[in-house]
Structure formats: structure tokens, C-alpha cells
């Protein structure tokens, strides 16, 4: 008699757990992933955020200096970052020398391109001497 009652209780518990699990699963499926913004530089800043990096508000800067269509600069975790969009990927790659002028005077600097977009990182305040943060930034940008 006791055994029968016990087995009934076990069955009820299993059924409840299954219903709860199903509900949670459906809930998770219902959650929508944040869409990547299409605008510039919002799309690049989104990539930084996704890589776990906090960025300040980016302000537009003179694109002619870097031979670009549009440029914006700001700070990511204390590092000076410039992002520019070019007409095509070839122009972006070819503008490395111009972009490097942004790094002048900094201890560390680099230029990376991804399609039409180029990113310049400079560390004028010796924030990241080991380059661990810069490595994270590069990873987030190139992903």
C-alpha cells in the first residue's frame, strides 16, 4: 500500500518536472537575439559590446584625413579607437599609412581591416602595456 502511494508521488513529480522544463525551453526559444545594427559605427560598437568591452560614445571625425567615407573616434576601455568606412575593401587596405598617423606618439598601435571597415587602436596613456585588452579588441572586431 505504502509502495503504491510512493510510486504515484514519484510519477507526479516527474510529470511536473517535465512540464516545467518544457515551459522553460519554450521561454528560451521565444527570447529574441538582439539584432546587429546596420548603421556605422553602431555595428562596430555592437561587436565591441558583444566581445565584453565597454565603449564611450563615438564622435564623427574628419574622414578626408584618412581617405575614408566616414570616420568616428572614441574610447574603448580607455584605449583610443578610430573606425572608418571606405568605399571598398581595397581602399581600406591601402589606407594603412594614413590611418597610422592616428597612432603617432602612442606606445602601442595597430590597424586592422574587415571588408570596407578599418579600425585603428592607439594606447597613448600606457593603459594596456601587455596588450591583453588590445588583443581582446582585435578579436571582437575580427569576429
Amino acid at each position: 500500500m505504502i509502495m503504491r502511494h510512493l510510486s504515484k508521488a514519484v510519477v507526479t513529480i516527474i510529470a511536473l518536472a517535465a512540464v516545467l522544463g518544457l515551459g522553460l525551453g519554450l521561454g528560451a526559444c521565444g527570447k529574441k537575439k538582439k539584432k546587429r545594427p546596420s548603421g556605422f559605427p553602431a555595428s562596430v560598437l555592437h561587436d565591441f559590446k558583444r566581445g565584453g568591452l565597454e565603449s564611450s560614445k563615438f564622435a564623427e571625425t574628419d574622414p578626408a584625413r584618412y581617405g575614408a567615407e566616414i570616420c568616428a573616434e572614441g574610447q574603448v576601455e580607455g584605449l583610443a579607437v578610430l573606425v572608418c568606412r571606405y568605399a571598398d575593401a581595397g581602399t581600406a587596405k591601402g589606407s594603412e599609412a594614413k590611418l597610422l598617423t592616428y597612432v603617432q606618439g602612442a606606445v602601442t598601435g595597430l590597424v586592422r581591416t574587415k571588408g570596407k571597415v578599418a579600425m585603428v587602436v592607439a594606447d597613448p596613456d600606457k593603459m594596456d602595456l601587455r596588450g591583453k585588452l588590445i588583443a581582446k579588441l582585435v578579436k571582437a572586431f575580427e569576429k
Binding site: L100, V107, T108, G109, V111, K126, L129, I134, A135, V138
Partner: protein, 287 residues
Amino acid sequence: MRLAVLGTLTALLTMVYAPAASASSVWYSGPHPIDTKVLKGMCYIPGSHVHSYAPVKPLLFVKAGRHNQFVGDPVEYEIEAPKHAYYGHHPLFWIDKGHRGKNYCYITGPHHHWYKPPKHLKFKHKGNVHWYVGGHPDWYVKTHPRATQLREHYHGIGIPLPHVTVSAPVGFVGLMVGAGWLTGHYMLKWHGGGWHGSGPMMYRWHGDKWKRPKWRRGHWNSPRWRARWKGHGYGKGHFKKHGYKHGYKHGYKHGYKHGNKHGIKHGKRTGGKRHAGAHRVMQRTGK
């Protein structure tokens, strides 16, 4: 006059401050040690980047295009840095884009590098150490005796090295380093013009350099070995009595020389190999 003085001063000032203006002009590729005046440690930035400082020890860098690439042991600068253990010489695949190119690591014995070897190169992983078993190219042999600076650098500094408790895998070519001894179980010997053979070889540290004993232990021509085996084996009678070397030398040279010469001299050369055996010579003279 004043203008000329001012001009000269301006030019001088420009010369003095020129390096500061182009401070970020030293190119690096991949992780490397930071200038010790700035900070002791490794820079973790992957790929191409610039710094305001020059390579801390030019010896530990290889120039690939405009980039300085670190080829040393990261442990010298940061013990916790990412590292993989290696033993002996191997290609610097991270400079030659994952292939065996023109750059080689000449650090003898156990050491570390930042990078893990690619799967397509012939590295064997044994005892948590990577051993290059792909064989060394010809130019490596020529470069090897001269590329001693890197080895000497690491012999002189006390840095934590990979602890190797296993013997070298089959195919490894290099020196085995023990406490006070270098034992070349897979050692290539230099015979004026090329590296040959392999076998046990014991080296001993003589204060300033490793010295090889006069005879390789167990070598067939070593005095001890000859004394041990004289009169044993290699035929009967003459050979056994006088030892292998003596008998072989006279027997072979004598027979070959006279037989061959005789045959060529007195018989007609009807083709075939120039250095044919005795049987061939007999045939020729018979005609």
C-alpha cells in the same frame, strides 16, 4: 646672421625631437617581450602592430619584412605566459606561415615557444614536449655551426625549462642534454662536407664548451672496441687472425684491384658496368 642662427637651432631641435615624432614606428608581429625599461613581461597582441620601443634583445628576434618576430623562450620574460615545450632544433613555422621555410630555431635542448606546432608539420608530441622529426634541410647544416649565439644565450641564463623525462622519439635529430652531459642518441656527425649517421655519442662540458671524446663509445673502430672484438667473427683463417679491418682491407683491395685491372687490360670490354665483379672479369678474359 640671427636668422641663420635661428635656422640652425630649429634644424637641431628637429633632429633631436625627430625620434619622438616617429616613436611608434617599430613593427612587430605576434607576441614578443616588452622593453624591460617599460615593463617586464610579454606583449600579447596577435599579428601586426607597432610600438614606440625597439626589440629588447635583437638576438631573440627575426626580421621578416618590416616586422620583428620573437623566436625566443617567453619564460625568460614571463613565467605564466602561454607556452609550448620543444626539444632541439626545428623550423620557425610561425614566421614561415605554418611551413618549413628559411628560418630555424637553434636553441639546443629543452625550451619553450609561444606557439603550438601546426598539425601538418612533422612534430611528435612525447612526454609533453614537441620534437621535430621531419629531418633538417641542407642549408640548415651550413647555417647550424654559425648560429651559436642563440644557444649560448640560453646556456647562460637560468630560466625554468621543460622537464624532459623521456627519450627522443624515432626520427629526432639533435642532442640530448643531461646533467653535465650531452648525449647524442640521435646525433648526426660532421664528416667534412656533410652530416652522417647516427648513434650513441657522449659529450662532456669542459668549462667553456662541449667536447666530444676521441672515439665514439661502441664505435667499431674505437681502440676499446677493436681490442674487445679482435679475432672474433668475420670469416676464418686470415681474417680471423688479423682482425676484420686488416683482412677486409687486403682481401678486398687485392682481389678487386688485380682482378679488375687484369680483366680490362687483357680482355675486350664488351659493355656492362665498369666496376664489374670478379665473375664478369673472368668472362671477359675468357673471350
